[in-house]
């Protein structure tokens, strides 16, 4: 009899084949990433200088790079970094953005003005600048990189949620909840936030890839992961360099990234539909 939004959404999600496919792929990928140190055929920095830029073969499924490192192994290790960045940074951005936006929109007035001006100021700072400041103050740390990326991504999320909340807060059901005596905290958590989930999830599916790409950009500048460690972003950018002589070095990591993003989008669309009670067909 536990008939909540979440259990209903779960049942609806199970009926969406594409979303389940996406979810299955992501779970598979995450599992592989976790198990990488045990299943990777080579070390991620093991070089074989006699076999550089080799074509895919049975020994090296995805070929080797210009230092003779096994690309398959490097993609597995890179996936660990990229997936963690994507998930952690997006979680940070959703948590901070949704709560910040909801509070700002719901309370309104001067509080809203102050909170939103803070967002404007942060918007105006180039995010690279922010990340560099964080790195300088707290030292270079891969976890910090995730947080820093999340902290630059929540701004748009906060604005989206704030807009939603402002349009929702004068609806009669919020007034009715107030009239019934529901506390402000629960009005925000139970009545307002679920109503903003649609746009939040859509934006989330856009955030994850953009965070993964931003990490690649930072790594390229030498602020992210350091060689010989790799992420998908760095693998792609090094693949671009040798694109003309060994296209597979670009192709494989790019394909992995695309597949992941596809799956995320399928899952995101499925979640958005599943979380909308009006989408129920039964």
């Amino acid at each position: 009899m536990s008939h909540s939004l979440w259990s209903d959404a779960w049942h609806r999600l199970l009926k969406n084949k594409l979303a389940i496919f996406g979810a299955a792929f992501l779970i598979f990928e995450i599992a592989i990433c976790i198990l990488t140190p045990w299943i990777a055929p080579y070390g991620f920095e093991t070089q074989n200088l006699e076999l550089t830029l080799a074509k895919p073969s049975l020994a090296h499924w995805f070929g080797t790079d210009n230092l003779g490192r096994d690309l398959f192994t490097r993609i597995l290790y890179g996936g660990r970094i990229s997936m963690t960045v994507g998930i952690l940074a997006s979680l940070v951005s959703v948590l901070v953005g949704v709560i910040y936006g909801a509070i700002s929109g719901f309370i309104g007035g001067k509080t809203d003005t102050v909170l939103m001006r803070i967002v404007d100021i942060l918007y105006a700072l180039p995010f690279i600048f922010l990340v560099i400041i964080l790195m300088v103050y707290f030292g270079r740390n891969i976890l910090l990189l995730f947080v820093a990326l999340g902290l630059t991504q929540w701004l748009t999320m906060a604005r989206i949620v704030r807009g939603q909340v402002i349009s929702l807060k004068h609806k009669e059901f919020i007034e009715a909840a107030k009239a019934v005596g529901v506390k402000t905290r629960y009005i925000i958590l139970k009545h307002l936030i679920p109503n903003t989930l649609g746009p939040v999830i859509v934006y989330l599916t856009l955030t994850i890839p953009s965070v993964i790409l931003e990490e690649a950009f930072l790594s390229f500048l030498g602020l992210g992961v350091q060689a010989p460690m790799a992420s998908w972003g760095t693998l792609i950018s090094s693949g671009v360099e040798v694109m003309e002589i060994a296209p597979w070095i670009l192709l494989f990591p790019a394909t992995m990234l695309s597949l992941t993003l596809f799956s995320l989008n399928f899952l995101g669309d499925g979640l958005r539909d599943a979380l909308d009670p009006k989408g129920a067909k039964d």
């Binding site: 909540s4 009669e172 009715a176 019934v180 005596g181 529901v182 679920p194 109503n195 129920a280």
Partner: protein, 322 residues
């Protein structure tokens, strides 16, 4: 003793365009088990007068510069938010005008119905679900236990209004404030809802404040009537007295402009002009511009109360029907 007593309540909106005096010194009282109808045109301050003291309007811009609202002798305006929250939704419940939007589209009927019980009565979830299910049955929703698991969009307007009524009734309130409960519904459903309210009122001995612009609804349900115009009370008294022997030009005009089946005229007389701009200060009677009986004094000062009999009061300088 009156269960709710409103004394000289004022509710002003402080906006950029100036102070809008939406409610400008109104007084009336409500006895236990009684139905008080508040009638008036759109913008006369009917809803604001109720929402303001229950703190359901954003403040600022709302300010209550003056007045007292006594619930069982205790002034609501002076209460802490905590104390008011314990009364609102428990002893004083509300039903809103628009059933289509008064329920959260993301929550099942059941989880919304259980809210007041869990907040005010300290019920556990299963207890509250059981009680809420009974309430749904009481308001005439077929298959109540199944309906608990349904989302609002699967219900029609009339059904949703029944759910809202069930929700307002779960805590057995002493006062039910119904803000145009039937305005958004079609006529047959309207009659059913009013009948339902009447029955439940009898069972629970609850007082109702019925806000409406529909004199037919008032005639069917109210014991006492307060006629409001531009934030003022113009006339109040028992429903029969007001319909039969109204002493106020505005009430008369309002009654005349209501279409009636037993008096088919070719043209329904309307009240010319429109409600005055409430951001302007009106020293005199706000109905002055539209009144057919106006005198010089009406422009200068708002009339004092005139008691026609102990229960019937009118606020007018002109004794037109003497």
């Amino acid at each position: 003793m009156a269960i709710l007593e409103i004394k000289n309540l004022k509710a002003h909106f402080h906006t950029r365009r100036g102070i809008i005096k939406a409610v400008n010194g109104i007084s009336y009282s409500l006895n236990p088990g009684e139905t008080l109808g508040i009638v008036g045109e759109s913008g006369s301050g009917k809803s604001v007068s109720q929402l303001s003291y229950l703190r359901l309007l954003p403040s600022p811009p709302l300010k209550i510069p003056d007045g007292e609202v006594l619930y069982r002798g205790e002034n609501i305006l002076g209460m802490s938010d905590e104390r008011l929250r314990s009364i609102r939704g428990d002893k004083i419940s509300m039903i809103f005008q628009e059933p289509m939007t008064s329920l959260n589209p993301y929550l099942t009927i059941g989880s919304q119905l259980t809210e007041p019980l869990m907040i005010h009565k300290g019920f556990s979830k299963p207890q509250a679900l059981k009680e809420a299910c009974k309430a749904l049955e009481r308001v005439g929703i077929p298959g109540a236990s199944k309906a608990m698991k349904v989302y609002p969009h699967e219900f029609s307007g009339g059904m949703r209004q029944r759910v809202m009524i069930a929700m307002a009734l779960t805590t057995k309130p002493e006062i039910l404030i119904a803000d145009e409960p039937t305005t958004a519904l079609d006529v047959t459903v309207q009659a059913q809802i009013l009948e339902l309210l009447k029955e439940i009122q009898k069972e629970n001995q609850m007082a109702i404040i019925l806000i409406t612009h529909d004199l037919g609804v008032i005639a069917g349900l109210a014991d006492k009537v307060v006629v409001m115009y531009a934030g003022r009370v113009f006339e109040k008294g028992p429903v029969e007295t007001l319909f039969e022997k109204s002493e106020h030009p505005y009430t008369r005009a309002l009654l005349r402009s209501t279409p009636r089946l037993d008096r088919l005229e070719e043209k329904i007389p309307v009240i010319g002009g429109s409600i005055p701009d409430l951001s302007q200060t009106h020293l005199g009677c706000p109905f002055y511009e539209r009144c057919e009986f106006r005198k010089e004094i009406c422009k200068a000062e708002f009339p004092k109360v005139r008691k026609i009999d102990p229960t019937h009061e009118s606020f007018c300088h002109v004794e037109i029907f003497k």
